[in-house]
């Protein structure tokens, strides 16, 4: 009984399902791909070394994104080569390529929105930037986080109520700068800086442990 005798097989072939067999990638192609991959590996290391050398020799500060962009671009090229020739997507059913491409698209969404969020917190939410509460939510203070952080900002003298309301009297500032005393460094941690969280030690925002101890300490004196 041959496949021709099976109606399913005929149906299959009629829809252009590959009946021409599988592609055997030639040895020359495989070796070229390997050579390219090794070359790009050395290139990514070389790019880093050159970047360090430039930064040291000419005493310039190269932003981090240059390093990340170069490294990820080279890695992406290597991935495309591996996927096309070693994993044979170039010769394969296009459906498999679709699966892989949509997966990568999903990963791009994950990374893209993460970077958009973290990268822009300082710009659009400047008010909260320097005053992330310990524990993160500000819950338990009995007020919204925006209000508690504003109180903290005023107390820490990084925010000027008067300037905020009368910014138009002074020098023109971008809206995100309004009300902030720019010379006072912002306290606490932020998405852009690696600093330990200072927390907020405002009275009324938290119950300091020391106070409770003092009350106990006064006890025996009575």
């Amino acid at each position: 009984m041959t496949s021709q005798a099976q109606p399913h097989a005929e149906h299959f072939d009629a829809h252009g399902h590959k009946d021409h067999g599988h592609t055997i990638v030639s040895v020359a192609t495989l070796r070229t791909v390997l050579a390219l991959l090794l070359f790009f590996t050395l290139l990514t290391v070389g790019a880093t070394l050159v970047e360090v050398w430039i930064a040291d020799t000419f005493n310039v500060l190269i932003p981090q994104w240059v390093n990340v962009f170069v490294a990820l671009s080279i890695a992406a090229v290597k991935t495309v080569i591996v996927v096309m020739f070693f994993m044979q997507l170039k010769y394969d059913n296009p459906l498999n390529t679709m699966i892989f491409v949509f997966t990568l698209l999903t990963v791009c969404f994950f990374l893209g929105f993460t970077v958009l969020d973290l990268g822009n917190r300082g710009t659009i939410d400047r008010f909260k930037e320097g005053h992330i509460l310990r524990g993160g939510t500000g819950l338990g203070t009995g007020m919204p986080i925006t209000q508690s952080s504003k109180i903290a900002a005023v107390t820490n003298q990084t925010y000027d109520e008067h300037l905020a309301h009368h910014a138009h009297h002074g020098p023109r500032l971008p809206i995100t700068e309004a009300g902030y005393v720019s010379k006072v460094p912002l306290a606490g941690s932020s998405a852009q800086r690696s600093k330990p969280v200072q927390g907020i030690t405002l009275e009324g925002l938290s119950v300091p442990a020391a106070q409770t101890e003092d009350e106990h300490g006064e006890g025996p004196a009575h």
């Binding site: 070796r31 290391v45 970047e51 890695a75 991935t79 996927v83 892989f100 990374l111 852009q192 330990p196």
Partner: protein, 235 residues
Amino acid sequence: MATIDLGKHGAHGSAPVNDDRPYHERYQAAHHFVDREHEFDAVKMGVWLFLSTEVLLFSGMFVAYAIFRMMYPDAFLSGSAHLDYRWGLLNTVVLLLSSYTVAAAVRHAQTGNQKWLQINIILTFIAGLIFLTIKGVFEYYKKYSEGLLPGKFYSYPYAENVPYEPLWWGIYWGATGIHASHVIVGMGLFAWLYVRSRKRHFGPGHYNAVEGVGLYWHIVDIVWIFLFPMLYLIH
């Protein structure tokens, strides 16, 4: 590119009882497939779907990496400075070579070259072993003895006063650890492939397992292609 004809041997139960042809020639596709070609395509798509879940698994770690690197770049710089990029480079080369041997193994299965199919499977297994040895002896063990461990286990005595460096070590150990566990699983699969190739299970007509394991190994390689610059080449 040369092509091979798989033939349509989908007729079930038609093989003679005393068939002394090699396994890959007398292999019959499972009864719910039209023929071996049909089965091959289904297996391959199944593997690709699995690989996409693998990519999503690792993407979680890449996102965590992005978040913490943006929040604490100093911690990542000082943490990465503890790594020697030359070990990472060597391991990258080892994995790329193993990707080549896997691709060669698939090719030899397609052409029915049993001897070189087995040799390439062994070579890939050895490459995995070398990778894990370098990782374990020269990196994991060293970092472990220095106390460069994630989270609360971090006990490096000469900390350069960079807060949140334990977070970096959490990312490092987490990402490379899950990757290394994939290498271990891959080596188990290659041991299985070797046993089957000794029994001449694979040939032009049937090499689904070689193809599937090969694809898995390539994805593990690709993950390392990204991990290498992200962990070792930060400055």
